[in-house]
């Protein structure tokens, strides 16, 4: 850290660093949410079977049948 900085400059630097760290934290949090969401959607049986997109019936696991 510079010894040349005035207290005002140092405070400004620390404020900028804090804003960057907050932004990075938000991005990482958003990434976690994104992967969680993708996993949930992909694990759902109706979307796990991509043939559903072509209009076919989803494959339902046997233990789901009554």
């Amino acid at each position: 850290m510079s010894v040349d900085w005035t207290p005002v400059e140092r405070a400004a630097f620390e404020a900028r660093r804090k804003s960057r760290n907050r932004a990075l934290g938000l991005v990482l949090g958003a990434l976690v949410m994104l992967f969680f969401g993708i996993t949930i959607v992909k694990m759902a049986p109706e979307f796990a079977n991509s043939k559903l997109l072509q209009g076919e019936q989803p494959v339902v696991p046997s233990d789901h049948k009554s």
Binding site: M1, S2, E9, A12, R16, G37, I38
Partner: protein, 308 residues
Amino acid sequence: MNRPTVPFSVDTAPVATFAEWRDYFALLKPRVMTLVIFTALCSMFAAPGTIHPFLGFTAILCVAVAAGASGALNQWYEADIDALMKRTANRPLPMGKIELHEALAFGVALAVGSVAIMGLATNWVAAFWLAVSVLYYVVVYTVWLKRRTPQNIVIGGAAGAFPVIVGWAAVTGDTSLLPWLLFSIIFLWTPPHFWALALFMEADYSKAGVPMLPVTHGSANTRRQILAYSALLVPVSIAPTLLGLTGWIYGGAAAFLGAIFMVLAFQVFRSRAEVAAEMIVEKKLFKFSLVYLAALFGALVVDRWVMV
């Protein structure tokens, strides 16, 4: 190439030069991202089939981030000429707020991450075309051709056109004639759009030594080429309807908007203005070209919904 050297170290730098999160955001060229997001979104809506809304959101996010990564890598490579142009001199790299190696790492990380997430969330066809779009913009356009040929904008136009292919592939898992026609529309739209801008920004490009068409071949040649590309753009924009791929809502909009585009292109062709302040029709064409693309793709979405 003369790159700006890093003018400071952490210990001695003026406080104002340390990057905020906004500076990293500016590296992504958010204004360019808007167009890319819009065209990719329209393509997804127009594509046959369905996609889970969350995966659709993820796909658009990946397209936006990949476009941002391309912008960051473009700024990393062009920091030297950005410093020379008034329009770009206040970007984070020429200002010394972000170091070159930071911008490179930022761009590469975003590009790789967005392609990987696209592949995992949707399919690898969409991820492939997303990777192609980044590589094309950075390697073919920015590094290879931008400083070597006055046709740089024509070639670069393809980079901005890839998101429609990506958006379509994210929904369908493949590509067909309609997305490639949409690709062609953006490809042919880019030269008149950017050359209209280059006509009234010629002094800036000249100063930076970028071989834009008005700098290398003069304004008369540029005006001719604007007219020629516009004349190609209009029939291609109507082609989806003529080939039965879209209905007449889109076809009517394409014909109407195309007629206005041609009138303005013809006015630019006829204009003899040489000073930026007198280039009224050139500015008008530039602004209308943005409205044109937005309205055309908006009409496509409405048309496909009505057809369904």
